[in-house]
Amino acid sequence: MPFLQEKDAAYIRTRFEREMQHDVSLEFFAPTTSGLALPDVGGEYAEYTQKILAEVATLSPKINLTLHSTLSEPEAAKARGIAHTPATAVIGAQDYGVRFYGMPAGYEFATLIEVIIAVSRGSTTVTEQTRAALSQVSRDVHVQVFVTPT
């Protein structure tokens, strides 16, 4: 059974069509063996996350989903700075550093859609003043936003 209802899928498909620019790669990382998530390491969440991402990827030809096992491809995870699993890196024309840890469900599904569009466009609605202030920051900044699906 699909995760999205047809009218929601249609709405998102239209938004992607109108608003996406560059291709976006969803790179999913989980500790899987031969495509199966291990049951005792967040396996259920990983399985659902993978299903959600697969469905989102069907909504635009500009979205590509790649699956990586942190067990067989630890280097790929390291290259993307993946700290925990399940993880999803949202990569556009460049890597803007956006990662989802856990399942993008509930309210966070809307966040995923907005992030895909922002990454695809390589821009956000942040004001010029804020951009100017941030451009002066020389140190690395790591923002962690803790959320729940409800």
């Binding site: 925990h84 920051v137 923002v143």
Partner: protein, 61 residues
């Protein structure tokens, strides 16, 4: 600059480490933190505070 969106329920050890009792909770560079949505200028202030290395407690919003 990098941004992680962390599902608190799936990562209880992280939620505990950062004392996440309410969401959304934002933690910047492990030093500056706040709960709830903020207007952009205030959010920027927190980012600048974290990037300046000032680890004194965050001002109340």
């Amino acid at each position: 600059m990098r941004a992680d969106i962390v599902e608190a329920g799936e990562f209880p050890e992280l939620a505990e480490r950062y004392n996440v009792y309410a969401v959304p909770k934002v933690v910047i560079n492990d030093t500056v933190e706040f709960v709830g949505a903020q207007l952009e200028p205030q959010f920027l202030r927190y980012v600048l505070q974290a990037s300046s290395g000032d680890t004194s407690p965050s001002p109340s919003p």
